[in-house]
Assembly symmetry: C2
């Protein structure tokens, strides 16, 4: 059994029963390059998806052709849409794309189902993680419905930049991050530039005043 990956999921250490161990043993490690598709819209889901390290973004396409990032699956997390699909049947209503080099584990549907029925600790892991991800979706709804776009934009710029002084991203990509339209984001960014918070270049946003951006991010 090659289950070194299990060490990356502390909650899976408790899975010591036979059915649970079998499911973990059936897990196959895969490596995704940035841009690789983890699953496509309309695919049937054949595997439970766990990310060891890296980042897979799950995005939905609206009928108008606009996009929104629903969530990311990152180190030690499972994918809520995959879990829902496996549990409820049906097909993916979104697509998942690796955005960094990503190591993931795929547990075949049959092994997943069997463990869900027979391993209490495995079930606990799956449900707990699923509940976490669901809460994040509810937060996203609250964000989109309630929070001012400029505050959300400032927050996302800081998140995506991390420690770096600038961010390589297009206005369209930012619109997708926030479920907004490109022209709306461009307007907001120009406004931020006028206020000295950022400096815009083609494909690059320089963060000039982090403190002001943080203040704006917390402004509602």
């Amino acid at each position: 059994m090659n289950e070194d990956w299990v060490a990356h999921f502390p909650a899976l250490q408790e899975v010591t029963d036979t059915a649970g161990r079998e499911a973990l043993a059936a897990g196959r490690e895969v490596v995704l390059k940035p841009g690789d598709i983890a699953f496509r819209l309309g695919d049937a889901c054949s595997h439970y998806l766990l990310v060891i390290e890296g980042s897979v973004k799950v995005r939905e396409l609206g009928t108008s052709g606009r996009e929104i990032i629903l969530y990311r699956v990152q180190d030690g997390e499972s994918c809520v849409l995959t879990t829902a699909c496996l549990m409820a049947g049906g097909r993916y209503s979104a697509e998942a794309i690796a955005e960094r080099p990503t190591r993931a584990v795929l547990i075949p549907a049959a092994a997943f189902q069997h463990a869900l029925g027979h391993s209490e600790p495995f079930r606990r892991f799956v449900f707990h993680d699923y509940g976490q991800r669901l809460s994040e979706l509810l937060e996203l709804i609250e964000d989109i419905a309630f929070r001012r776009l400029d505050a959300r934009l400032a927050e996302r710029l800081l998140e995506l930049a991390g420690e770096a002084p600038e961010l390589h991203i297009t206005h369209q990509e930012l619109a997708t991050e926030l479920g907004s339209a490109r022209e709306v984001i461009s307007r907001q960014l120009k406004d931020m530039q006028r206020r000295g918070l950022v400096r815009l270049e083609r494909g690059v946003i320089h963060l000039l005043d982090r403190e002001a951006l943080e203040h704006l991010a917390e402004s509602d």
Copy 2:
């Protein structure tokens, strides 16, 4: 055993095994009046909630004090937030209020957990319904992020009015339905009135031109 209510859930007919039947037998029927609280923000969840007939709306409050209706639990449906809470632990992040006279069934957490572990048909029912409700939340995200507010408002007016020629609802209540602000909704309604689609009175909206409203609802 008093399980007449089971007849309202066709998918539960398949639950014939002992563990599953025990959970159904542990279900207690309750009647809610309009305005009764089914669960409060911060409550621990003690029961699996199924609505036999009626309507319970689940709403979230933003930090700004604004509200949004996340979803409704209606005839033959379960509550996604309750299910998530029961499966993942944690407390309710929203509150649920009956908006019509409602008959519901409460299955105690322990009986629910036991059946989830031991009854394959019960598990199938729970997961399938859960997956359905999750899809609805994803649709809500898509709606809020992508669709024009006037189209969503027209759609909701038609939905809420049903066959009736008018709708008794405040602008604030409509804002909560759509995750928007009261003043924004008032502006949209006045615009609709100017275009002859509706006539506004205090607490009442008369639908004057259904065809135009339907056209608007489908306009994106």
